[in-house]
Symmetry: C2
Subunit: 165 residues, 2 copies
């Protein structure tokens, strides 16, 4: 879903003079997310809200990618990368309802970004590699959102190191 | 860099019957990573190793995307998404040197994946939005790696919630 200048909130700014799509940056969708959320207005704003609201959340992994699930197991925390296919991509400054004034896109977790990739830390609660079905504890994206990647969560690199503070 | 069956280690398996690239999944490169690492054999395996080895690490943000840096500041932890442009994309099972037997791609943090997107939690140590230059504490990708996104790190959603254990 794209948009134009008439869709801007006060203080919002679009990117100008963007380069064309990178010819070597093409994605494969490895599956889809199944969630209870059918419209953007109904979709939880983040995973904390999604966990509070409950409801089932599933990943459907396409057949070619199911062998790559080997080694994942229920109870494990994973990072999902999703393609937020309904998000506009053209805003440099955004005026979220919770913020007093417009903020740069890269300082926000809004789905609106030049590459609308979502990052979600979730827990596997059930997994059937043969059918490519993974039940997860919650998810904060629309039903049908394409899935790009699953990565194991590793506290050794995914939490800021103590010595850096 | 692509590869074929002759490049497989014992136990490695390629994806078969993959779908074509998603027509609506096209990326924009928002900048590049500058690192000391010029070859894959020299590149640290993860951020912990990169921090131990030291050396400068920079993000160069392309001009159209610099206004979106507003709100980021030195000291802040950010998640980078990178496009690991030299990684092959065709392996379902991989035989990393540290593992006793082959493992599914989605249970590994290897750069080899259907969508070679890297995820890196780093700290901003200096930022000049006017030139698009961001110094970071360390990085574990090759010099010149395309940058896809910058997200603020939010412990409220980026650490597993206590109540789930």
């Amino acid at each position: 879903m794209n948009a134009n200048d008439t869709d801007l909130r006060e203080g919002e700014v679009r990117f100008i003079n963007e380069a064309p799509f990178a010819p070597d940056g093409q994605l494969r969708f490895i599956g889809r997310v199944r969630s209870p959320w059918r419209s953007r207005s109904d979709c939880p704003k983040n995973l904390r809200e999604a966990r509070e609201r409950g409801g089932s959340a599933l990943l459907e992994i396409a057949a070619p990618y199911r062998p790559a699930l080997s080694g994942l197991a229920p109870g494990q925390w994973i990072m999902l990368l999703t393609w937020l296919h309904e998000a506009r991509r053209d805003l440099a400054l955004q005026a979220p309802r919770h913020a007093a004034e417009p903020r740069g896109t890269f300082s926000l977790r809004s789905p609106v970004r030049p590459n609308p990739i979502g990052l979600h830390l979730v827990r596997i609660v059930g997994l059937d590699a043969s059918t490519g079905s993974i039940a997860i504890d919650a998810v904060d994206v629309l039903d049908g959102t394409p899935l790009l990647d699953i990565k194991p969560y590793l506290p050794s690199v995914d939490i800021p190191p103590m010595e850096a503070d």
